[in-house]
């Protein structure tokens, strides 16, 4: 049934061609949300600077392409690897010293801010003006396509891949270690779980996926700049979807993106001069969800489902 659903999704560009941009953004943010979810939802380390991996991915592939003519298809591998290395570096530092909760949130924020400032000031990678990727027409080898459909399929399969990965992860020992770290760090340690290693794996996976999405984002929009890829706002965009949808659930990030991305895109279209207003809705939704649905929408579905079944007995 899931296979059928994915198959049907392939027809979206033909059924609703006007919404294809929306669908691409929705999927890309679902992928990044899934990346955040592995670390923030499963391993219990909420990152407030996840855009650092997204931006790093976007910059690595773009700089490789612009400066050295290396195809973004190779660039995306380099970006993913770069994201993983950066993730392991920050993770090793933070988890070695036992940072968690608000302290981890702050250190991620600080790292992201440093990258933000350095990219603003570093002329060789475009400085504050960012980098414009020159149009190459229909050049599949350079990850540029005349039709948006191609990006739709890439984004769709990234969603499928990341959801599958997390679904599998939930059923492995490593996935259970993540949960153990989240639920009770000290108890997990006492029971012999290598929490340092488990969190590091979560960080690496999380960072890699987010960086990969960064490359596709850069190739799709053909323009990146420090404020949009390293800014605090983008960290919020990445983390808010899994939180609303349900952190620590397989489908939470996708569900969150399904709701928030259209809200953001349409508010931006309708209220052009007040383009920040959609963030007001974000804030409101976030507050309401945290107070009334602490486990997100998936948590709501689960409790409704449980209640229905209990009544049936």
């Amino acid at each position: 049934m899931i296979a059928l659903f994915i198959f049907i999704l392939h027809f979206w560009p033909w059924v609703a061609p006007n919404t294809i941009h929306l669908a691409i953004m929705m999927f890309l943010f679902a992928v990044m949300g899934q990346g955040w979810n592995i670390l923030g939802g499963y391993a219990g380390q909420a990152s407030f600077g996840h855009t650092i991996f997204f931006g790093t991915g976007a910059y690595i592939s773009t700089v490789l392409y612009i400066r050295f003519g290396i195809s973004p298809w190779i660039g995306i591998l380099a970006a993913t690897l770069g994201g993983i290395i950066l993730g392991i570096f920050i993770g090793a530092l933070s988890f070695r010293y036992g940072l968690k909760g608000p302290f981890f949130a702050l250190i991620m924020l600080a790292f992201a801010e440093i990258f933000h400032m350095v990219s603003l000031g570093w002329g060789a990678i475009g400085g504050a003006e960012g980098i414009l990727i020159p149009l190459a027409g229909n050049a599949p080898l350079k990850m540029q396509f005349l039709e948006k459909k191609a990006f739709y399929f890439i984004a769709l399969w990234m969603v499928v891949g990341s959801v599958y990965l997390v679904w599998r992860l939930e059923r492995t020992k490593t996935g259970l270690y993540f949960l153990a770290c989240r639920e009770d760090h000290d108890a997990a340690e006492a029971l012999g779980v290598n929490t340092f290693k488990a969190q590091l794996i979560a960080m690496a996976l999380s960072a890699g996926i987010t960086a990969m999405a960064g490359t596709v984002y850069a190739q799709y929009l053909l323009y990146i700049d420090p404020n949009s890829v390293f800014g605090l706002l983008n960290s919020v965009e990445i983390m808010i979807r899994p939180i609303i949808g349900g952190a620590g659930t397989v489908l939470g990030p996708l569900l969150g993106s399904l709701i928030l991305t259209p809200l953001a895109e349409y508010s931006r279209l309708i209220l052009q001069s007040y383009s920040g207003v959609y963030l007001m809705w974000y804030g409101l939704i976030l507050v309401v969800v945290i107070i009334f649905l602490p486990n997100g929408l998936m948590g709501l579905f689960k409790s409704l489902h449980d209640r229905y079944h209990r009544r049936g007995q």
């Binding site: 909420a46 801010e113 504050a128 409101l284 945290i290 107070i291």
Partner: protein, 290 residues
């Protein structure tokens, strides 16, 4: 880079550092008592700035008189914030509290965009350009006033915390919430008041910088990011630490501005921040067991 220039930068850093201190004290009081990092703190400061701006322009009052309104207003906002938003989730996992304050930040900032447009506003006063000179070093009157205000309110708060019954109750609630409760302290009320005090600090800091700083919805971000650095440097929850930390970071920022290109001037303070988080999470003045 001559000597006068260095002294001038350090002085400017010190004066603005006082404002960082006050913002950071607000954060650290809230963290000390409730163990919450308030991401909306910058937005509260922004509210304080807009409130000052409107009082000064609409009522034609002196900026520094506006404090009489801004202080209780922000105190009230803080109390309501705690009462209706944070109280219900006090026992939720701690990252939920972070998300909630983040949500409030997004809401307040963009409400300001909606209500007052994203444009920069500048409050014009007759005394904004008054400078005093000692040798070649110039001292701006409004900077000195901001510094003195920060000093005054930090001192006041220190006295409240250490010399009054309310302050003792707040400190008790911060150190031993259960014990404090058993001693008959109304913890919930202490939490309201603490949050009120914290946001009043942000509001007063907002008023202090209004005469020389542009007012716009995202203005709080600059100060609050620095304030996190200060809070961590001074030791989470330590008022004295936050005060000294603010002055240090103010000067570190101006040293950063001398040796690093414009957009990277704060890199230095963020590097200090990360080092402290990793190697000395209790800060320079924090208790070891905190």
């Amino acid at each position: 880079m001559d000597f006068t220039f260095v002294v001038q930068s350090l002085l400017n850093g010190l004066l603005i550092g006082g404002v960082y201190s006050l913002v950071a004290i607000g954060l650290t009081v809230i963290f000390g008592v409730m163990k919450i990092i308030n991401f909306a703190h910058g937005a509260l400061m922004m509210l304080g700035m807009y409130a000052t701006y409107w009082i000064a322009t609409l009522l034609q009052l002196n900026v520094y008189v506006a404090i009489v309104f801004v202080l209780p207003l922000l105190f009230l906002v803080g109390v309501l914030f705690q009462r209706f938003l944070i109280s219900p989730i006090m026992n939720a996992p701690e990252h939920n509290q972070l998300f909630l304050t983040l949500g409030v930040m997004l809401f307040l900032q963009n409400m300001a965009v909606f209500l007052w447009t994203p444009d920069f506003r500048v409050l014009k006063t007759s005394y904004a350009n008054i400078n005093y000179y000692i040798g070649d070093i110039s001292i701006s009157l409004v900077h000195v006033l901001a510094f003195l205000m920060a000093l005054l309110f930090s001192g006041l708060l220190y006295i409240i915390l250490h010399k009054t019954d309310l302050g003792r109750a707040i400190r008790a609630a911060s150190e031993e919430p259960v014990g404090a409760k058993l001693m008959g302290i109304n913890i919930k009320r202490i939490y309201w008041i603490t949050f009120g005090i914290g946001s009043a600090c942000a509001g007063v800091a907002g008023t202090a910088i209004t005469p020389f700083f542009p007012i716009y919805p995202y203005v709080g971000d600059i100060f609050v990011l620095t304030a996190y650095v200060v809070v961590v440097l001074g030791g989470m929850g330590s008022v004295f630490g936050a005060f000294v930390g603010g002055l240090i970071i103010g000067m570190a920022d101006s040293i950063g501005a001398m040796i690093l290109p414009g957009s990277m001037k704060s890199v230095l303070s963020f590097v200090i921040f990360i080092m402290i988080l990793l190697f000395r999470p209790t800060g320079l003045f924090g208790r070891q067991n905190a």
